[in-house]
Symmetry: C2
């Protein structure tokens, strides 16, 4: 059995569905760690995005980020070198994000219903990383952009 | 009247709806420039994402990126300093992306229907940039992450 760990990050919006997601992951024997602040009066999504990104990179695992829409989280996370974060809406997105684009984090908003979220998470975890040449070639180009090596694309 | 310019970038998937979008923008008196390769046999979304990002930054305008899902484009674009790219699905997303998160580029896939895409584009263009303190504070934190100034968040 492969050991899988998920780092979950939520802001004051995402926290509304946090417990359900943690419960679902634990029920499925997935190790989960949650990044959240204690004071939710003025918390900012980039704080959680950065914290989750650091942990995903350190532990070489996967991440899930939840805010109101998933937009802010996905932008903030992609600013971290080594992270590829996809804002997703359904299982197809989760598959594409991981298998084509090499995403190690997915982000979504609290507007998705929980049954859909569980399917997204299952797919994200079960999907294999990219192996086709065209996907790897494109990911390598993202890495070049990330490093500012624009002339090497 | 405010002069608005859109830089559009498409890969071999996005090219399928490129002409319809250019036609729509021109009909609405929006200046549009398109980034695309001549050879679409093996084109890679990061090439178009980078080209559009550079032009958006140089001309201080807005960008639209279209690939199969919008995921790859959005990840690649967010790797460029100064760019905030949101993968969007509807007008609400377009509003949030620009007004809350300060997005200067939106990305989407070819699975959206054209009428929805036109509404997304209208909203993205018409929506004001962030002015509320909480949004500006969070955007500033994204900028710190982008600069690697993690301790200053």
């Amino acid at each position: 059995m492969i050991f899988i760990k998920i780092i979950l990050g939520v802001d004051h919006q995402g926290i509304k569905i946090k417990d359900s997601i943690i419960e679902y992951l634990k029920k499925n024997a997935i190790n989960v760690e949650c990044s959240e602040l204690k004071n939710f009066d003025a918390d900012d999504y980039p704080d959680f995005a950065l914290d989750v990104c650091k942990k995903v990179l350190n532990e070489n695992c996967l991440g899930i980020l939840i805010c109101g829409s998933g937009i802010g989280m996905s932008i903030a996370a992609n600013k971290v070198k080594g992270i590829k974060c996809a804002r997703v809406f359904d299982e197809n997105d989760a598959f594409t994000a991981k298998n084509h684009n090499g995403a190690n984090i997915i982000a979504f908003g609290i507007n998705l219903d929980l049954e859909k979220i569980y399917k997204i998470i299952d797919t994200f975890i079960a999907t294999k990383s990219p192996c086709e040449e065209r996907h790897l070639r494109r990911i390598k180009k993202i890495d070049k952009i990330e490093q500012g090596l624009y002339d090497e694309l």
